[in-house]
Structures are given as structure tokens and as C-alpha cells.
Amino acid sequence: MRGVKESQPGGGNEPCASCLVQPCYAYEVHSLRFRYQSTESSSRPWILDDISFQVSQGEVLGIVGPNGSGKTSLLKLLARLASPQQGGITLFERDLTEMGQDEIARIVGVVPQDTPQLFPFTVAETVLMGRFPHRPRNRWGNGFGWESGEDMAIAEDAMRTMDVAHLAQRAVTDLSGGERQRTMIARALAQTPNVMLLDEPTAFLDLQHQVEIGSVLCRLKEERGLTVVLISHDLNLVSQYCDRLLLLAEGQVVRLGTPDEVIEPLVLEQVYQCQVLIDRHPTSGVPRVTLPGRKSTGNK
């Protein structure tokens, strides 16, 4: 339709004026404490206890840690799907609590953990839902919301990026886990976000699509300065694609740093309570984690 092929002077990578003076953070998290509200008078334990960190603009941050360490809760707080009891979060230097949910939705795209879909929306309809925060609405509700040509073009690009364009007419209820996951990521991409929050984006994906998602996120980071925060249990994957890792255990930050600094035998053994072997990836040189095999029986 019109104006889709907008060209930007200077491109998206050039730092803005304020970034030249000081580094620009997508997220700043100050001494965050969070627990789920309980109806009883007895207070529940803190899910997240005194967490502080920053995420730079254009960074890929991986959140790792054992089950129940508070990873998903942290991601929910970053998306403002839950509110912390103490501490604060700023998104591009603005207090998250002062922003409207739809304003946040234009900046932050969220891909939740895989949820089964019950209603037969087509893949195209699902991806187009990502355009919702950008569509005009009036005070009588959300309006009828016919999609504009621009919306459709953006949705189609997102679908091509995530390799689901050929599924456009299929119902999301009929997709495999991996196809559904890619559809949900495409939906978040259609939001044209500056920040993407992903909860185990590769959990249902085969090797090819795991690699693809990793490289797509890196490409978007390079091309658009996209900031990515993702949760994963796959230490090798995050080691490969993340600039920094945040290792959580029992609601506290155990370590925050480059994969080299975080993926260390002693740290992991202490946190995961099991032995691991760590060596180097043969081509990229990032740390590689291997589970200890069974002892060789010696009949070689």
C-alpha cells in the first residue's frame, strides 16, 4: 500500500545523542522483590529477592537457572504482567508503572511459554493480533479494527521471517508445537517491538528451527537494534547466541556476565547440583556444556 518502504536516514544502528553521553539501557531493574499475593495472612516466600541488573539496548540477555528459580516471574515483571512489591523497573528510562499497557505493547513483544490454543484462528489472524496495539481505537471500546494494508504487510514479513507464511490459512489448533511456537514469535514480531521477551522460545523446536530462531534474533539485533531477553534451559544455545547471561537461583542473581563468566563448572555445579563438563565450542569458541556420561566400562 503506502509508505511501507520507509527509509531511515542514518539507519537504526547509530546511537542517539543521549547514548553518546551515557550508555542507553533498555531495562534498568533496581532491587526488585516479588512474591505472589496470598489470601491467607501467612506471607509466601519471595519468588524474586533483591534483583538488580541492566539490559543495554541491542543486547541479547539470556536468563538461566534451575526450575522454580523465578525466571518466568522475572519475565512477567519485565512485561508488567505482574507488579513487584519492592523496587522498580524502567523501560528506556521511563518508569514501567507509569506507562499504559498499550504503550508498553508498542515497545515490548512477549512470547509466553507455549499455551495450547483452543480456537481455530488461522495463523495469519493470530499474527495480525500483533498489530492490535498499533491500531486506532475509540472510547466506545476497541472498534471493529479492519486491518490496513500496512498491517498485513508487516504481518506477512513477520511470518516470512519465522517461516510460517506457508501456513497462513491453517488453524492454530492444527499446528505442531514448533509451528505454533514460531507463529507466536511471528505475532510478537508483528508488534514491531524494540524489546522482545521470550519464555523458552526453543522448547518445542527441532534443531533446524532452534538455530533459525537464534540467528533471526541476532539478525534483528544487528539490523534494528532489537533488545532480547530470553529464558532457556538450553545452556549451549544461550552460550551461542546471548551477549550476557543472568543466572538465577532461588530468586537471587548468582551471576551476571558474559557466557564465559557464567558458564563455569563450579558455579553450575553449585546451582544445578550436578556435575557438568565444560569445554569450548569447536568453531565459535564459546563455552560448551556437556552432561557427564556413564563411566566407560572399559571393554574397549
Partner: protein, 382 residues
């Protein structure tokens, strides 16, 4: 055209992060265009369904204890175009005219309205609770409304079930209590298994029914007989002034509910996903709750507990035309209205002159469908 960016942040980098959407292949968007609801599809489907509704309503006017020829129906309907003339028809010696205008037409219209409302409420509850089995009857909202209305009757509201405005209000109160209980059960834990939600409905139905039975048993026999018939779900021939009242009330509520279709589409993804897309879920939920309770309360006070339309109709329509609520909502309303008109005509004619409560017909159609869904479509119910 400016592509979206984080505008409004005064000095952040975000302003500079507006996105280019990569290289542009020809005819971008055409893949999407072919797989979504378009205006022409919406108009075509709704047009066809409206036409069907008109045809079925004429058939419903035709059938009865005494059939009325279609030519006669047209003659009478063309002859009277204002309410005054219709009311005046009652006095004329033309018996066909009287049957048609005083008995069948208002009842067919009421059936259509009630069917529309029940199906619409079903669509909305299914999306909100993310549960394709949700229906005001199954979830106990109808019995809540019925209990409210029964309490109203006990304290003397309305000698006929339509005449008094107090009854819909009592129905609304009962309905919203039931809805809030169901919703709290449904959302208390992160993901409540579908069977637990149904169980909530069963329990609510049992409690409310017991209370209704209690009220029925302490009423005098005449009124308690009327109440029993009403509880089974019965359409009667309302007066035109009553019909207009119901029409206005339900139309306004349904139009307001229709304003939520876009939010409903997103809510079907799940509440967290909807919030992360910028839907004000609390506000949407509040308006949807109040409106569904208002509609159910009114419908129940007019026609008693007519079950399963709210579950069966949206389900069938969704299978046929897809899940987009912008089409699903009005299409289900039309199909629900048409279905209930037909079912009520069956109720009137099956063993005429005795009437079967129409709630029995809908339950006989809907019950087996419900079992089918539970047994053979389990995979879809997560």
C-alpha cells in the same frame, strides 16, 4: 507513513528505533489477505444467514396447530405495517389474522431474540473463559438468574413473567453472583482443567436448583405450576409493548457486547498474552461480565432456562466459519435466533395442541452434542 516506534519517551533511544520491515517483495500482505476475514466475506455470510432467518421465520408462522398458507401470511403482514394496526388486528373477525398477529408473530420474534441473546452470551463466555464448553446454562449462570427471578416472584414481583421490570433485575443479580463464582474458580489457579470448571457449574446448578425447588414448594399451587413450566424453558406470546421493551433492552446490551469483539479475539489467546498486547483485560472483563449477566437475567426472566443454545450454536458456527469474533459473534446470534425459532415451532407442533417446553427440545439436541464434545473431541478441550 511513519512506522511505529516508542514515541512519547522524551529522550530515549527508543525514538530512533522505529523499524524498517526489510526488503519489500511484490504484493506484500497478499498471503495474509487470503487467510483472514474480509469485508466481502463478512457481508456475504451475514447476508445469507439473515435470509435464512427470514425464511425460517416465515415457516414458523406457517406451521402450527392450524397451518396458515404463505400467501395469507404475506397478505396479513403486508397489510399491517404499524404496531397500532397489529394491535387492532385482535379485534377483527378474521381469526387467521388474530392467530398470526396476536399469537404466532410475537412468539416467533421473542424466540429469535432469546436465541440471539443466548448464542451471543455463549460466544463471549467461551472466549473469556477460554473454554469451548462454556454456556450460561452449563455454568450455572442461568440457574443463578432463575433463582434471582424466583426470589423476585416469592416477594411478589410480577404476576406475569414479562410484565415487571423487577424480574430482569432480580435475574441480573442472581446471574452475576453465579458468574463471579464461576470466574473465580476458573482463574484461581494458573490453568484450571476444563472438567473442574464444568464441575463448578454442576455444583452451582445443584445448589441453585435446590433453592428454586424450595421456593416453588412454598408458593401456592397455581403459581408454582406456572413457575415449573417457566423453569423448563418456555416461550409464550408476549404483548407487543412487552416485546418492544425486551427488544430495546436486548438490542442495546448486544450492541454494547459486540463492541468487545476485538478484545475477545485477543483474549482468546490467554489473559497474559492479551495484556501484553495492550488489551485492558480488567475493563474488558468487567464490561463483558456485566453485559452477559444483564442479558442472561433478562432472557431467563422472559423464557426460563433454555439450555445448550449458547454452547452448541457458537461451536457449530466456529467450525464452519472460523474463530474471528467479528464474524463469529453476529453469525452465532443469527443462527441462535433461527435455531430457537425452529425449536419453538417444533415445541408447539410436535404433539399439538399440547405444548412441549422448548427447553426440552434444545436440551435433547444439545445434550448429545455436549457428550460428543466431551468424549470425542477431548483433544481440542485441552
Amino acid at each position: 507513513m511513519k512506522l511505529p516506534s516508542a514515541t512519547g519517551s522524551p529522550r530515549s533511544c527508543a525514538d530512533r528505533l522505529s523499524h524498517e520491515q526489510g526488503s519489500a517483495p511484490p504484493a506484500r500482505g497478499s498471503v495474509v489477505q487470503g487467510a483472514i476475514l474480509t469485508r466481502s466475506r463478512l457481508i456475504l455470510i451475514l447476508g445469507l444467514l439473515s435470509l435464512t432467518a427470514v425464511v425460517v421465520s416465515l415457516m414458523c408462522l406457517h406451521f402450527g396447530a392450524q397451518s396458515i398458507a404463505y400467501g395469507e401470511i404475506f397478505r396479513v403482514l403486508m397489510g399491517v405495517m404499524t404496531v397500532d394496526q397489529i394491535e387492532a388486528g385482535g379485534g377483527s373477525a378474521d381469526i387467521t389474522r388474530t392467530i398470526l398477529l396476536q399469537i404466532r408473530l410475537p412468539r416467533v420474534l421473542l424466540g429469535f431474540l432469546v436465541g440471539c441473546s443466548l448464542a451471543s452470551v455463549g460466544v463471549v463466555l467461551q472466549a473469556l473463559l477460554r473454554n469451548p464448553l462454556a454456556d450460561p446454562y452449563v455454568l450455572g449462570v442461568s440457574s443463578g438468574a432463575a433463582l434471582g427471578a424466583a426470589v423476585g416472584v416469592l416477594f411478589g414481583a410480577g404476576t406475569t413473567f414479562l410484565a415487571e421490570a423487577a424480574l430482569p433485575a432480580c435475574g441480573f443479580a442472581g446471574g452475576i453472583v453465579a458468574l463471579v463464582i464461576v470466574y473465580r474458580m476458573a482463574t484461581n489457579s494458573e490453568r484450571l482443567p476444563i472438567h473442574s470448571l464444568l464441575l463448578t457449574g454442576v455444583i452451582l446448578n445443584a445448589i441453585f436448583s435446590a433453592l428454586i425447588m424450595f421456593i416453588t414448594s412454598i408458593l401456592d399451587p397455581n403459581r408454582s405450576y406456572g413457575m415449573m413450566a417457566w423453569l423448563m424453558g418456555t416461550l409464550t406470546s408476549p404483548t407487543y409493548s412487552g416485546l418492544v421493551g425486551v427488544l430495546v433492552y436486548l438490542s442495546i446490551s448486544l450492541i454494547l457486547l459486540f463492541g468487545q469483539v476485538r478484545a475477545l479475539n485477543i483474549l482468546a489467546l490467554g489473559e497474559d498474552a492479551a495484556r501484553s498486547l495492550g488489551v485492558d483485560t480488567e475493563r474488558a472483563k468487567r464490561s463483558i461480565f456485566i453485559l452477559t449477566a444483564l442479558i442472561t437475567g433478562a432472557v431467563v426472566s422472559v423464557s426460563g432456562m433454555i439450555g445448550f443454545i449458547g454452547m452448541v450454536v457458537p461451536h457449530a458456527v466456529r467450525l464452519a466459519i472460523g474463530a474471528d469474533h467479528r464474524l463469529l459473534f453476529p453469525a452465532s446470534a443469527l443462527v441462535g435466533g433461527t435455531f430457537l425459532m425452529g425449536a419453538d415451532t417444533m415445541a408447539r407442533t410436535l404433539i399439538a395442541p399440547t405444548e412441549v417446553p422448548v427447553g426440552i427440545i434444545t436440551a435433547l439436541v444439545g445434550g448429545p452434542f455436549f457428550v460428543y464434545l466431551l468424549l470425542w473431541r477431548k483433544d481440542r478441550l485441552a
